[in-house]
Symmetry: C2
Subunit: 438 residues, 2 copies
Amino acid sequence: MAFKIGLLGYGTVGTGTAEIILDPEGRNSLLQEIEIAKVGVRSLDQPRSPQLSTEVLTTDLEAIVNDPEIEIVVELLGGLEPARSLILQAIAKGKHIVTANKAVIARHGEEIFTAANQAEVYVLFEAAVGGGIPVIKPLKQSLGVNRIETVIGIINGTTNYILTQMTEEGADFEEVLAEAQQLGYAEADPTADVDGYDAADKIAILAAIAFNGRIKREDISCEGIRQINATDISYADDLGFVIKLLAIAKRGRSPIAKANADNDSLQVRVHPTLVSKDHPLANVNGVYNAILVEGDPLGQVMLFGPGAGKGATASAVVSDIVNIIGFLQTSNTTRKLDPMLKCPHDHFKQLTPIAEINTRFYARFLCQDVPGVIGHLGTSFGNHDVSLESVVQIGFRNNLAEIVVVTHNVQEGNFRKALEEIKSLASIDSIPSILRVL
Amino acid sequence: MAFKIGLLGYGTVGTGTAEIILDPEGRNSLLQEIEIAKVGVRSLDQPRSPQLSTEVLTTDLEAIVNDPEIEIVVELLGGLEPARSLILQAIAKGKHIVTANKAVIARHGEEIFTAANQAEVYVLFEAAVGGGIPVIKPLKQSLGVNRIETVIGIINGTTNYILTQMTEEGADFEEVLAEAQQLGYAEADPTADVDGYDAADKIAILAAIAFNGRIKREDISCEGIRQINATDISYADDLGFVIKLLAIAKRGRSPIAKANADNDSLQVRVHPTLVSKDHPLANVNGVYNAILVEGDPLGQVMLFGPGAGKGATASAVVSDIVNIIGFLQTSNTTRKLDPMLKCPHDHFKQLTPIAEINTRFYARFLCQDVPGVIGHLGTSFGNHDVSLESVVQIGFRNNLAEIVVVTHNVQEGNFRKALEEIKSLASIDSIPSILRVL
């Protein structure tokens, strides 16, 4: 018996999904149980491959989510609306959902999962993070028996491509961005990628699963890569680092959180980061993605692969579909959802404010070339409990001494206060770069 | 309601498993549904941590597999017997099985899975390959919608540690093996690891899942690392390679297989291999493991992490237990096994004989320093359709010219015939090393 699915959208990922389902030989045998019953498109005139019969194609998306024969709705529209409304409507009709839409899951997860758990339907979203890398199901089904300490991801292919090119070519941001846009690796409006919003959506999703609680997307501290330049990439290289846009979720460890006995608090942040060259994430280059999970007693596991692209994303979408088919094939009407696959939480995690996190920093200063300037820097940092790992005068730029400081693990708020004090010193001209260090 | 489990064995992995289950805070909430009802040990006198009550410990392993209250039997004895018999007995009693035992799954999979499918019980074995790396469930539940082309693993931590140390220290095999034995990274009898048998068990398991058919363990071509020496590691380095013990499973592509229209045949082999330094597997060092899966349309995905150790292995064992708990919690007596988790095949795959595979080779020759010797080598290879990528005279050793050859992709049988011819040449003294190249 075939199970009927409806696709909302038939663009790159939609056609990729159909290609897998319509060519099942040599793949999971459950693919043969899938029937693509309806596909919602914007216009019926456009030629498409794989071609579908005219009864399957429709421009009426609501007809798909209301079709009583369809058991799984696969949402591949992207964006917040009408994706959100159609997903909620489909859930209300008792349909399972598969989606590749990180924005709608990250920002409307609360109402979607509440509705899904009430209706006893699955909402699966493997394709929303890391493209073809299995990460959502492994976090739910394998890694969750650990006490997860950190999830760190390179989960935006566009920015990783840009930073890799900048590193390899010594080129500046604007130049490489233009190149990436020509190659189709960056959008005409690159904001969601280069300002870190896409990575923030994705780390919100990963953190919710890894730490078992909802994440308020708007509370995630988010910095993009527009300010990264060839100078800092080169200095980082000299110090043994590469610069990566990391999305980080970490069990709260700030002294203030500890004093409040708030063991439950969590840091979630996206920012360009200096990563030591011998760290597993340092070798993740180009459009590849990787997610590093650290837990007790597991240690470190890293999942690596293509973070985007038609085939990779479709692979993740279809894996969710067959998991639901497996459930449908063996369940009866009284059966409940498997707790390993459904959303098991309904509370929000408290996020640690960025000023309270502990991290290492890299900062570059332009100073008057007067005796004692390094002493002034050191004193100001010391005044605010910021201990330094290294202070190096790299050279001169426009008659100003260029000094690079790397700190030990310090509280971000203290570091920022020290910078305020340093800015007021007569010998300091400017602070062109401030970056965090993993 | 708690589900009762019985542990066969309470050594390193067993105590690690108990540590996770008895300390569930901050982990998957299903852990709270597990009750460790019985633990089978060799002697009751030994002190153990975590300590268990005297009613739980028993030396009667059969009593555990026959206990009507126990729903899941966790086999952590290792070795073939009595593990195999106890697993089969437990299955016959309708119990689900979790095991970390790669040998028993690789060598007795046929009878175990046939029995399990008849009894409608799960046999899960995430810990059997790659320690804490989620790889078995991702292959079944995520990656299997692809047409898998290759699975390549660094799946033996001992040999990877030895090769890494040899590379970093320029040391020879025997020296590093002794060091690894002192550190507990290698057994007193290192055969299973250094001769590749452990890796062969593991690739048999991965290949069965990835290519959906049983693998005859004894048909796997298996070469270990005893013959690897500092000289070849250094020459490989000059050529841009590192040497890794790879376990490879690959869809059959030999010309002979093609002529027979045998699309279903498969190469499965374990051998030391030259890996290009820019390949993702080249950076997997020390006791870490990694599994690279290549499929259509996915592309390449790599799963990386600790391949052994108490916590990592226990993490995998417990993940299997909670997956079965999730099933038990929501199923009723009439429910069948989820096809995404059970063993879905019952036929054996045909394996391509090693002589018929295609691969690149690296070979080192010691030759008389006479004019034309490179020409003789080239002619003999050409006689057997072996095309060469590079021929380099590295230098001299004991008045003999040392020449390193790297081939293109060639049929192994042809390459071996060419070597036979070359051995008979008057100008060839010996062929100290023959290695495959990824």
